[in-house]
C-alpha cells in the first residue's frame, strides 16, 4: 500500500512537472507571436481581439485537457478530443459574430495532441482576423482522411482564392509560420483555401 502511494505521488509529481513545462512553452509561443507581430510590422484588424482570442484558446485547451483526464487516476498521454476542443473554440469565436459558419465532418472519434490543437486554434484566430479585415462572412469545413486533418476556408468577397497569399501578403508571415509548425500544407483553389495537417 505504501508502495502504491509512493508510486502515485511520483506519477503525480511527474505530471505536474510536465504540465508546468508545457504551460511555460505555451506562454512562450504567445509571447513569441506578439514579438513577431512587431518585428514583421504585422497589422491586425483588431490586435486586442487577437490577443484575447489566443488567451481563450489556451484557457479552453487546459480546461478540456483537465476534463478529459478527470476520471483517470493519472493521465498517460496528452491527447484530447479534436471535435470537442475545436467545437468549443469555434463556438467561442461565434459568440462575438454571426459571420462564421463551420462544419465538422467525420471527426467525432479523433484525438490530437494538445500542443497541435493550440496551434490550430491560433490559425483560426488568424483566419478570423482576415475575415474581419474583409468585413466578410467565412465558411470553415473540417474533415479528415488518411491521418490528416483538412481545413477548407473561404470568404464570400474573394472570387478567386488562388490569389489569397497575394491578397494578404503583408499579413501572411505569422499565418505561414503557424501552418509550418504543424507541418501543414497550403492548397489554393478557386473557391477555397485548403490546409492539411498530419496532426493525428
Amino acid at each position: 500500500m505504501t508502495n502504491n502511494l509512493n508510486e502515485n505521488s511520483d506519477g503525480l509529481k511527474e505530471i505536474l512537472d510536465k504540465t508546468l513545462h508545457r504551460f511555460k512553452n505555451n506562454l512562450q509561443t504567445q509571447l513569441s507571436l506578439m514579438n513577431i507581430q512587431s518585428a514583421t510590422n504585422r497589422l491586425y484588424f483588431d490586435d486586442r481581439k487577437v490577443i484575447v482570442d489566443r488567451i481563450f484558446a489556451l484557457t479552453y485547451l487546459y480546461d478540456v485537457f483537465y476534463r478529459t483526464n478527470k476520471e483517470e487516476a493519472l493521465p498517460s498521454d496528452t491527447l484530447i478530443s479534436f471535435q470537442f476542443y475545436v467545437l468549443q473554440f469555434l463556438q467561442y469565436l461565434k459568440s462575438s459574430t454571426s459571420e462564421i459558419d463551420f462544419e465538422l465532418t467525420g471527426i467525432s472519434h479523433l484525438k490530437a495532441d494538445v500542443d497541435d490543437l493550440l496551434i490550430l486554434a491560433y490559425i483560426l484566430v488568424e483566419i478570423n482576423d482576415f475575415r474581419m479585415s474583409l468585413n466578410d462572412r467565412m465558411v470553415l469545413d473540417f474533415s479528415h482522411n488518411s491521418k490528416k486533418i483538412s481545413l477548407k476556408f473561404s470568404f464570400d468577397s474573394i472570387k478567386n482564392h488562388e490569389k489569397f497569399p497575394d491578397l494578404f501578403e503583408k499579413q501572411f508571415k505569422i499565418f505561414d509560420l503557424l501552418v509550418k509548425q504543424l507541418k501543414g500544407k497550403f492548397d489554393y483553389k478557386k473557391k477555397f483555401v485548403r490546409l492539411s495537417f498530419p496532426i493525428l
Binding site: 508546468l20 511555460k24 506562454l27 512562450q28 509571447l31 518585428a39 509560420l177 503557424l178
Partner: protein, 245 residues
C-alpha cells in the same frame, strides 16, 4: 564582422522570434531543428555561440548536443528551456552550459545572456593564454604531447606504445616521467578519461551501452562492461538507472 549564433530549436515560432531578436541586435544567425543539422553547422556555419533548446523532436535531444559540445568543442552554449525542475537542471549542469534561459523569455534576457557569455568566452581565452604559460611549467613538452594525443583519440583504442612514440622518449623514461608529472600511469590515466566520458554519456544521452562502448574505443560490449565495473564498481546499466530518471 557580425558574431555568428546558431539557434537549435524545433519550434518554428520561437526560433523565428529569436532570429528576429538577434538580427535586430546585430548578430548573424542560422536555425537548426535537429542534432544532425547542429553538428553539420559547427563546421559549415562556424558559430561563436549556440542557443540550444532542450527538447527537440526527441526528449532531451538538446542535452545530447550539449554533451557533445562539452566534450568535443569549445563553443559556448546556452540552453533554452521551459524545465525548471531540479532533476533536469542537475542533468543540464553536467554538460556545462554557460547559461540557461527559462521560457517564457524577453528580448533583454536573450541579449543579456548572450553578451555575458561572449564576454566570459573572451575572458576565458585570455585566461587560457595565461594558463598555457603556467601549464608549460607543469608538464614537460613530451608529456603534454601525450596528453593531447589522448584527448584527441579518446574515442579509439590508445596504446602506450603510441604515447611513447608521440613523446619521443624511451619507454622506461616516458613511464617514469608520466607518473611523476600526471600522478598515475599512462594506462590508468587513459582508463580514467574513457570512464569519465562513458559516465557522462550514460547520464546525459540515450545512446545504447554498445554505442557508448564503441564511441570510446572498445571493440566489444563485454570488454567495456568489465572495464566499467572494475573502474566504478557498478555495471553501466545500473549506473544509468541510478543517475537517470
Amino acid at each position: 564582422m557580425k558574431t555568428k549564433i546558431l539557434i537549435v530549436e524545433d519550434d518554428k515560432i520561437v526560433s523565428f522570434e529569436i532570429q528576429s531578436i538577434l538580427n535586430q541586435n546585430g548578430f548573424d544567425s542560422t536555425i537548426c531543428e535537429s542534432y544532425n543539422c547542429c553538428i553539420k553547422n559547427l563546421d559549415t556555419f562556424k558559430p561563436e555561440l549556440i542557443l540550444l533548446d532542450i527538447d527537440l523532436s526527441k526528449k532531451y535531444e538538446g542535452i545530447q548536443i550539449g554533451s557533445y559540445l562539452n566534450s568535443k568543442s569549445k563553443i559556448p552554449f546556452i540552453y533554452i528551456t521551459g524545465y525548471t525542475d531540479t532533476e533536469t537542471l542537475k542533468r543540464i549542469q553536467t554538460t556545462k552550459p554557460v547559461a540557461y534561459l527559462s521560457k517564457p523569455f524577453r528580448e533583454i534576457d536573450v541579449i543579456g545572456n548572450i553578451e555575458l557569455a561572449l564576454y566570459n568566452k573572451k575572458a576565458s581565452f585570455d585566461d587560457i593564454g595565461n594558463y598555457e604559460v603556467e601549464e608549460a611549467s607543469i608538464y614537460s613538452k613530451p608529456i603534454k604531447r601525450a596528453l593531447e594525443y589522448i584527448d584527441t583519440n579518446i574515442n579509439q583504442e590508445i596504446k602506450t606504445d603510441e604515447l611513447i612514440r608521440v613523446s619521443g622518449w624511451s619507454k622506461f623514461h616516458f613511464i617514469r616521467e608520466f607518473g611523476k608529472e600526471v600522478g598515475k600511469t599512462p594506462y590508468q590515466y587513459v582508463l580514467d578519461e574513457k570512464m569519465k566520458l562513458a559516465s557522462s554519456k550514460l547520464k546525459n544521452t540515450y545512446q545504447t551501452i554498445k554505442e557508448i562502448a564503441f564511441d570510446i574505443g572498445y571493440t566489444s560490449n563485454s570488454s567495456f562492461t568489465n572495464a566499467f565495473v572494475k573502474h566504478s564498481g557498478i555495471s553501466p546499466s545500473s549506473f544509468r538507472k541510478k543517475y537517470c530518471r
